[in-house]
Symmetry: C2
């Protein structure tokens, strides 16, 4: 009991049948005489047999595993998407190998992922120009990016980032703010690049010179955001509104504002993008821009990935439209 492996061969011997028949009882019982099924099922019960899905994977060349490379959960966006993805995958009878990628561990994650014979990969850790894309293509298994797009413009689900940046900025401007600033992320990531572009477009459309507007770019770590917030406080003319490229950044800015004794939105307007669940909490009540659809972006992506796996779709290129969610962190100037 415990530790001693019992195989289908053992079951076969115990039941007085062949291993083939045991396999059939488990997979195609309709091809086996009822009485035999019973004998075998009894043996399985008796010996406490549990099929070895590693062996099954080897022969079937299907592991039933989906690899998920998510960003870290301290970013509430990934809380929402990870929930949606993991639950969907499990509901479909698959397993999920989860990784939380950061700058430091991505390489080691990729090494591990490439060795794992997963049936498919879903990831949010792809740069606009990233060799990983081609490595994944070589692997020959389906993959999809969510909230990230690669230069090659294939296999992705994103929100309309340019429009999102535009809507957020425009909302702030329409409230009468003129001293605004931007906190973004690395331009190597399509998401951040697009949202910043939307920001600039909105400024231009309001006749504001982009180069006069302070823009900061962070690696999205708490420390880095804090550093930038302090820079903002030192600005010659302090902005009345802060446009953050993501809710995660915005929510951290809220934290820093309150820590310093500032009041939002009286001292600072703050707006984010993503409309994460947490932003709906009444203690946060973050004004933000997010999916028009009720569906979570992770859900949309994993759904599409399964379509690809089932050959129902060939290549996913999906950009979801967005809208403004006005809440309590913005107000008329």
């Amino acid at each position: 009991m415990g530790g001693f492996l019992v195989s289908s061969k053992d079951v076969a011997k115990y039941a007085g049948v062949s291993q083939t028949t045991v396999s059939r009882v488990l997979n195609t019982p309709e091809l086996v005489k009822p009485k035999t099924v019973e004998k075998v099922m009894n043996a399985i019960e008796e010996l406490n047999y549990i099929p070895n899905d590693i062996a099954r994977s080897l022969v079937q060349k299907k592991t039933g595993i989906i690899t998920l490379i998510s960003g870290p959960l301290h970013n509430p966006f990934f809380v929402d998407t990870t929930t949606a993805i993991v639950n969907y995958v499990n509901a479909r009878g698959y397993k999920v190998n989860v990784y939380f990628g950061t700058e430091d561990n991505l390489d080691s994650i990729y090494n591990s992922v490439l060795e794992t014979k997963a049936d498919a990969i879903i990831l949010s850790s792809m740069l606009y120009k990233d060799d990983l894309f081609f490595k994944l293509e070589k692997l020959g298994i389906p993959f999809i990016m969510y909230n990230r797009k690669h230069q090659e413009n294939r296999y992705f689900v994103e929100i309309d980032n340019v429009e999102a940046g535009y809507l957020a900025t425009n909302h702030i401007l329409s409230l009468g703010h003129r001293d605004v600033c931007w906190i973004g992320g690395p331009h190597e990531i399509s998401t951040f690049y697009g949202r910043y572009e939307g920001f600039r477009n909105a400024l231009k459309d309001s006749g504001i010179e982009v180069k006069n507007v302070p823009s900061f770019f962070t690696n999205t770590s708490k420390n880095d955001i804090k550093r930038i917030f302090e820079e903002i406080l030192m600005l010659p003319t302090r902005p009345t509104a802060i446009c953050a490229a993501t809710d995660a950044i915005a929510i951290e800015i809220l934290n820093l504002c309150l820590e310093r004794g500032f009041h939002v939105p009286n001292d600072f307007n703050v707006i984010g993008i993503d409309n994460v669940e947490l932003s709906k909490h009444h203690s946060i009540a973050l004004t933000t821009v997010g999916l028009e659809s009720e569906k979570n972006l992770g859900f949309i992506a994993i759904e599409k990935l399964f379509e690809v796996m089932e050959k129902k779709s060939a290549c996913i290129q999906q950009t979801e439209s967005v809208k403004l969610f006005p809440r309590n962190t913005t107000c008329k100037k």
Copy 2:
């Protein structure tokens, strides 16, 4: 290219050596002549060979997979623990199969988990009396529970729940509140049972009759917490302080208070237990009770699990001590 599997046998043929040598080059290169290593490595490069870890698992009887059964991420406690566990496991070179257990899907999760030949299991979804415990023992692989304890009193890491309930309640009482109430969870879960016991002990020690104090028990879903909050508002004497069994419940109560236009702590004091990361956010600033140690409970648990896997420990029975974290959701009456 892509989809066509290349095996170590192919590499062997290409390099003009045996499959055994290829295997050795990858696992024990010090036993292979440098020139041969080079030949093989070239062949690997040339053929784009990636070892099949399914086959490796089969022969080695080790999958390198840890199964994690967590609670859902809308509970911030599981955000913290999942982060700690997944990152630790990956840093150790293992993979993590993640499940988010709810009332509905637990049975199907258990079925899947029992078939998966994981090297170990870490889970938070165990009732005080739960047959699963014995099924896991039969499986013969190491497992550990975090934030949950089974009747059998083995393989667990928890906080001192009774003390936590006591400290939280006592804090409220010491602030002068007398009209308090309790929002807990299912008593089948050791965590909730212990914390409620601490609540009752504190009341007794302050000479308050337990049976006169309103206590509510929820399945911890948002809807259920809302239902209970509405019940509280209907109470003949409205409590001035709400003791929640978890930060997750407390944070949802905060949300409901604000939604109704109440102010915390002026209208209601709110206190939680767990000291989750989110409770530190200045928009929340939840008074709570949590680990005295800096370490995350999930981290402690997964660390211990690896000790068991490496036979450094036999059986984990760990109860961590706790302390109060006073913040802004409680104040003198």
